[in-house]
């Protein structure tokens, strides 16, 4: 194993590690077998584990996630791939009505230990139906855990936790990060679900980010040093469980909060974080909470337009400067 791997290689590596340690882990999805995934995130799995562990499916999102649910209820740990997160809408019944509710509504009679992996987010010019950041869709539903890593090591560590979890986990892999590189994870690496990471320490403002917005927030923090502003950057890594203790602790140090989200402002995860801080951390704040989120329009195709809609480094630095001047 190389010391440095790409985010996309980390996905396959993370799955493979779990498949080696647990024979009940099986994969299913479109083009994930011999074709090794349209994003090459399942490279090597079919070769190593064969057709009894890695199953190609038809373009049938309901069958993929529904079958994963039935298998999870009966002794397997399925890892289902939904190629683009936009396609979650095609099997939304399972994520909204079935998987998150079945344990509760049966009085705890069943568990659903499955992972739904999906390629999420924009920045690659795929247009309005293949570029959405939809992590906020999942956030609306009690009963789903939600992971969205920003680094290759976190991909491996969070996949380990997600696959071993006895709860259903929606695992958002960011398309814009697939080519990014980082240190690989040591053997046995596991990142507990619901633990944010402080990826840059600072004292003037807290930037809370997730997946693709972590590098955006880090770039913004670097740029702000020229203004003498020392920003702290928190990588949430998961939306459920939501590490509000880490956010509140950071805001307690910095007294200012900017939430950097790729999902649209309307209904985005930052609104939930902001609500908790407003409720429980109001006296920690010296300025209003700002949200830098995607604009409330469908994601456009052209680069010049996409940049208008997505959160950018400049939008983050502007928001921070406005708070420091408050």
């Amino acid at each position: 194993m190389a010391d440095v791997i790409t985010y996309r290689e980390a996905v396959a590596e993370g799955i493979a590690r779990e498949m080696r340690r647990d024979p009940t882990v099986v994969c299913l999805g479109e083009d994930i077998g011999a074709a090794e995934g349209v994003f090459k995130t399942t490279v090597g799995l079919f070769k190593e584990f064969g057709p009894q562990r890695v199953w190609d499916t038809p373009i049938s999102e309901q069958a993929i996630v529904g079958a994963a649910m039935g298998a999870a209820m009966t002794g397997l740990r399925p890892v289902a791939e939904i190629m683009f997160s936009d396609f979650l809408a095609c099997c939304w019944d399972y994520l909204a009505n079935e998987i998150p509710k079945v344990r509760y509504m049966t009085g705890g009679q069943v568990t659903v230990p499955l992972v739904v992996r999906t390629a999420n987010g924009g920045g690659l010019g795929f247009g309005a139906q293949h570029s959405q950041a939809v992590e906020n869709w999942a956030l609306t539903i009690p009963g789903l855990k939600i992971a969205a890593p920003s680094t290759p090591a976190d991909v491996i560590g969070l996949l380990a936790a997600a696959i071993r979890s006895d709860d259903p986990v929606v695992f958002f892999e960011h398309k814009g990060l697939f080519a990014s590189k980082g240190p690989t994870a040591p053997d046995g690496h596991l990142v507990e679900l619901g633990r944010a990471a402080t990826v840059r320490s600072g004292q003037d403002v807290t930037l809370v980010a997730l997946a693709s917005t972590v590098p955006v927030a880090l770039s913004a923090a670097e740029r702000l040093t020229a203004d003498g502003i020392d920003a702290e950057v928190l990588d949430l890594r998961c939306l459920i469980p939501l590490d509000m203790a880490a956010v509140l602790a950071s805001v307690g140090r910095t007294s200012r909060l900017v939430l950097v989200e790729e999902n649209p402002y309307q209904g985005g995860w930052g609104a939930t974080v902001a609500a908790v801080v407003a409720d429980e951390g109001f006296e920690l704040l010296d300025a209003p909470i700002r949200r830098v989120a995607a604009a409330c329009v469908p994601l456009p195709f052209a680069d010049a337009l996409e940049q208008q809609v997505m959160p950018t480094v400049a939008k983050v630095t502007d928001a921070v400067r406005s708070l420091l001047a408050y």
């Binding site: 397997l76 509760y104 069943v110 709860d167």
Partner: protein, 333 residues
Amino acid sequence: MTAVTESTVDGATLLRMFEQMAVIRRTEQAAYDLFLTGLVKGTTHLAAGHEAVAVGASSALRPDDYVFATYRGHHHAMARGATAEECLAELMSKSTGLCAGKGGSMHLTKASSGMLGSYAIVGAHLPMAAGAAWSAKLRGTGQVAVAFFGDGATNIGAFHEALNLAAVWALPVLFICENNLYMEYTPIGSVTAADHPAADRAPGYRLPAEVIDGNDAVVVRDAVVRAAARARAGDGPTVLEALTYRHFGHSRADPAKYRPEEEVRQWLQRDPLDVLRARLATAGVPDRDVTAADDRAAAEVTAAIEAAKAAPAPDPAEAFTDVWADGGAAWRT
């Protein structure tokens, strides 16, 4: 429709099936009556009239096989081991209910005996059954999974996705349609471009299908024996379309006035309990034994009603348990 086969089922088995069907029938009547007295809230989708499908199929299955049902699923829960008391207590919002008061009429589940749930989104459980069958196949257990669904489910995407996936993966799953002729309030024939909404679709997925008399528990049992044997032999899924009829409306809100009187009369003459009584007579089981079985069923349901009434409501703290596998509901730190 497949010709009625000469039953090889012995009298004692027939009598057990009859008693089970009688318990279901009386439980459904109790649910109806308790709703009218305000002790059952929300809604119910009663399966009176459908008993032969559940009991006939269940009698052909192994104890460790998996069953998935719809919101009209009381009969399937009971056919797979749920007691009248557990079901009525759930309907009456009691802590002793099958789902501890968290599911209600539409979600009866008895996972300990493989009855893996009743689902209230039409068609959703067909892919789940395919997945349970996939799991059984991968684990090499020889189990089969059965999805029971209504005729209305045959026009939703999940039905078609499940049949195709199950066919191409040769999964040990049985798709059993309870065709009661009405998609809620609408005749199924008026909204479906097929005479037999389930069976006629099966050949499109290279699946064998049978249309059977769903009011004859022995016919259902024989068909499920055949289909389960195919599945366990690795020959893949079968579609069964069991013709049957609701004795009540679609749900509590529905008096079913859209059904022609003559049609209702003809179907009530073919009450599945009467059909099985005739088979019991043919098998030489004395009338008094049948009456005794019916009396036991009546006593069981009467006792169940009283026990359910006397049971406590759920502890309010239970609202915040069992979201997660650790038993809790915490969503944040």
